[in-house]
């Protein structure tokens, strides 16, 4: 019956899109079959979300066309996409906090009573049924602002599924979900697939891709790399398709030796109950605080930069004794001495998202001057940092919010490098950053210590700490319980060190 040509539900052909001078998609193709789950993969900034926003009617493509069942489809607005049967669960939560779950579920297409008002009874009943399908025990009349992030994520998914759509786009639906929740979600996805829907699944988690998807399309730097059947491809092949190189190249070589101490903690106690410990960071090395999550790595960091007061101990920074860390002048004094602190949550605590790349880069330089000194634009500094860090931005005046996660993180690092800091204290150097940018950030940190700097770092990803650092200090119970050379460390040896040391559980 079929003439060999596979029947596609949706075909996106030769799609191109630019935002100003920055071209984010070039000649991208995506073909979706009915009754299949299609993974869309690529690093952050590869153009996945933009491509999906075009299919969802949020953005309009500059070139190319979309076919549905072979017929050209015009998608000028999200409403048009919904009408065409394309439903999206966006990566950014788009539930309105001041509406109830039921209201959010039906927003924009509320069923009406005979008197012309929204049929709240029906909305409530259908919402309850949709929530039950996902094993959610939530009251449809609950305001979304009272839900946890994971609950919101599920409501968002229920919202997308419930629409009578033939195409369902799931943009990182599992970002806020734990393993059990993911399994619940996968069950629903399989049910929808068996009902003949086409599902686009965006995720960075390989195991999920292999568990649930049938086909995968890879994008890189806004260009189409290829489409494979999941059964014909391995994880390593997928990664090299995304990155263009092998995983082992991710980390730069370690340091040959190390210099004199730059940061010395002695008798340091984070809390009154914690055991005191000593820790020394040397010039030319990257030192990682490893251990189980939440064992005090972050508390040690924050106490040492003066965010909160430790119970006791002394600190020497670049040979200068500061007594109680941070007690004298706090982060301002430490910054003057040449220490930079890069917080974990760059959006909340680090960057000024609405300001330009340039302003975010040089604000550290301005902070050292009196408040009424005219702020020079420091064009050369901005240019030097943008080039050196390879920050991909349309122009130095682009707001930082418009950059991808990796580039935002580079801007944040650039702020300290521009100021000639000697010691960097970094929480989660690559949180929310894709593989390509991770490797660039590792190289940056390595060259920073090679030029005489020193880095103290925490990360939830133990693999990252092992690959990046020269030395690991294992933290347990708010104190350092062991030190290991990173070259010999494994996830297993770190865990063993954390759990077998006496007095750790203070």
């Amino acid at each position: 019956m079929f003439d060999g040509e596979p029947a596609y539900l949706i075909e996106m052909q030769a799609i191109s899109k630019a935002f100003g001078p920055a071209c984010v998609l070039r000649d991208v193709t995506l073909r979706l079959r009915p009754g299949s789950v299609h993974a869309l993969m690529g690093e952050n900034g590869a153009g996945k979300s933009t491509l999906m926003k075009i299919l969802a009617g949020v953005h309009r493509s500059d070139a190319g066309q979309i076919l549905k069942d072979g017929q050209p489809l015009h998608l000028p607005s999200p409403r048009a996409a919904l009408t065409a049967g394309i439903s999206t669960v966006f990566q950014e939560l788009s539930l309105l906090p001041n509406l109830t779950i039921a209201e959010n579920m039906f927003l924009g297409r509320e069923p009406l009573t005979r008197r012309g008002g929204p049929d709240r009874r029906r909305m409530r009943a259908e919402t309850a049924a949709a929530l039950a399908e996902l094993d959610l025990k939530l009251d449809p009349d609950q305001l979304v602002s009272t839900l946890t992030i994971a609950e919101r994520q599920f409501v968002e998914i229920a919202h997308g599924i419930k629409a009578d759509a033939s195409v369902l786009i799931l943009d990182e639906p599992t970002a806020a979900l734990n393993a059990a929740d993911v399994e619940v979600l996968n069950r629903s996805i399989r049910r929808l697939r068996d009902a003949g829907r086409a599902i686009v699944y965006i995720s960075h988690r390989m195991d999920e891709i292999f568990a649930i998807c049938d086909e995968v399309t890879v994008l890189k730097d806004g260009q189409y790399v290829g489409t494979r059947a999941i059964s014909d491809v391995t994880q390593h092949e997928l990664i090299s398709m995304m990155v263009g190189r092998e995983l082992s190249d991710l980390f730069p070589a370690r340091a040959a030796g190390r210099g004199k101490p730059v940061l010395e903690l002695s008798g340091f106690r984070v809390t009154a109950r914690a055991k005191p410990f000593d820790l020394t960071l040397h010039q030319g090395e990257i030192l990682g605080l490893a251990g189980l999550e939440g064992q005090g790595q972050s508390r040690i960091m924050r106490a040492l930069i003066g965010r909160h007061k430790p119970a006791g101990g002394a600190l020497r920074l670049l040979g200068k004794g500061l007594g109680f860390p941070g007690a004298a002048g706090g982060i301002r004094q430490m910054a003057r001495l040449g220490l930079g602190f890069v917080p974990e949550d760059r959006k909340e605590e680090g960057l000024m998202l609405g300001l330009s790349v340039a302003a975010n880069l040089v604000i550290g330089l301005h902070a050292e001057k009196p408040a009424f000194t005219p702020a020079r634009s420091l064009k050369q500094v901005v240019q030097r940092m943008t080039d050196a860090l390879r920050i991909r931005t349309a122009s130095p005046t682009t707001p930082v919010a418009a950059l991808s996660g990796g580039n935002q993180q580079k801007v944040l690092l650039g702020r300290y490098l521009a100021r000639d800091v000697r010691v960097l204290v970094i929480e989660e150097p690559t949180r929310g950053v894709d593989i390509g940018a991770k490797s660039e950030i590792y190289a940056l940190l390595r060259s920073f210590v090679q030029e005489g700097g020193a880095v103290l770092v925490t990360s939830r990803e133990t693999v990252e700490l092992i690959g990046l650092c020269d030395r690991l200090a294992v933290v347990h119970g708010d104190t350092v319980v062991a030190e290991l050379p990173a070259a010999e460390a494994t996830e297993h040896s770190i865990l063993t060190a954390a759990l077998t040391t006496e007095g750790a559980a203070a």
């Binding site: 969802a56 919904l82 999206t88 788009s94 959010n104 927003l107 509320e110 008197r115 012309g116 602002s145």
Partner: protein, 320 residues
């Protein structure tokens, strides 16, 4: 019922705002004034109170519509004056009365278009409209004068079965607004749009398929229509056109909405709260008039009350 009452006092789980505060204040004012003076509880004073409160109540309901979408309308006062000026022109009432509403809808439409299409901030857009309309009003009617059609006067000053018409009009307006805000998709969408604005998710409502621009424009049209109705009401009371009668109504209507628990960031507020806010302002004026407090002192006290009530309300957003 109890849960609903409690929602008036808790910022956490409601999008209705803290309307319990003005409720308590209104009850306290009524009690204080009935005990303090024998004149308060008289039938005459109460009906007079309703008639006095009605224009502000209507204008404040209109203001609520635009505040809910995160906007503001400063042209309300000018629309009111303008409406009285139109009604006092020479002409048959069948032309003048519809003309008031058509012109008001036009004004609201322009406000909405300038804000949504040209991206002008609501304060600037409606401030400009306030000046423009004030100028036109003063050309039409430089000083107070003219004669308002008899039918308007009868509709405002008459009574049915011993109940003054203002009471009936008031209930009808509140009923209409309730239907639009709570019993229509439009009303729900206004809350949704404002909730997105307040939470910094401007695109969220659009992503849900709501026609944001159209709904925002309609909110400004509704606001101007309510203002025009307030103008018709005032014209019926003063029997003539007056270029200054709407003065400060734009600010008083915002005050009433804010006292009623409506948050200017959008998405949080209620009709009953706004009605209570207008009633509090009317009771305040009434009480101080009975107590012979000078109008200047009254204005200062009004400011203090606004600050105290809004200050009492936690400014925390919807628990985001």
């Amino acid at each position: 019922m109890i849960a609903w009452l409690r929602s008036g006092f808790s910022t956490r789980r409601s999008r209705q705002g803290l309307w319990g505060v003005p409720l308590v204040i209104a009850v306290a004012m009524v009690l204080a004034q009935s005990l303090g003076t024998g004149q308060f509880a008289t039938r005459e004073n109460l009906f007079n109170l309703v008639a006095q409160a009605m224009p502000l109540l209507i204008a404040a309901i209109g203001q609520l519509f635009v505040i809910l979408v995160g906007g503001l309308d400063l042209s309300v006062g000018s629309v009111i004056s303008f409406s009285t000026a139109i009604l006092s022109l020479d002409g048959p009432s069948v032309v003048l009365v519809p003309a008031v509403f058509v012109l008001a809808a036009l004004v609201g439409g322009i406000n909405g278009l300038v804000i949504t299409r040209m991206g002008v901030h609501p304060i600037i857009a409606t401030l400009a409209m306030q000046y423009i309309l004030l100028g036109i009003t003063r050309i039409l009617r430089p000083t107070s004068g003219g004669k308002v059609p008899d039918i308007v006067i009868a509709a405002v000053q008459g009574s049915v079965l011993g109940i003054p018409l203002p009471v009936i009009w008031g209930l009808a307006v509140i009923g209409l607004a309730a239907k639009v805000l709570y019993g229509s998709r439009f009303g729900l969408h206004l809350f949704g749009i404002g909730g997105g604005v307040a939470a910094g998710m401007e695109d969220a409502a659009r992503n849900h398929g709501i026609r944001v621009q159209r709904n925002v424009i309609l909110a400004y049209v509704a606001c101007s229509l309510f203002a025009a109705l307030a103008g018709v009401f005032l014209a019926g009371r003063i029997v003539s056109g007056d270029p200054n009668v709407g003065l400060l109504f734009e600010l008083d209507s915002i005050t009433a909405a804010a006292i009623g628990g409506t948050q200017l960031s959008g998405g949080v507020g209620s009709l009953h709260g706004t009605v209570l806010g207008a009633i509090v302002l009317a009771l305040l004026a009434n009480g101080m008039n009975l107590a012979n407090v000078s109008p200047f002192v009254q204005t200062a006290i009004k400011g203090g009350l606004l600050l105290a009530i809004v200050g009492l309300q936690s400014r925390k957003k919807m628990g985001l």
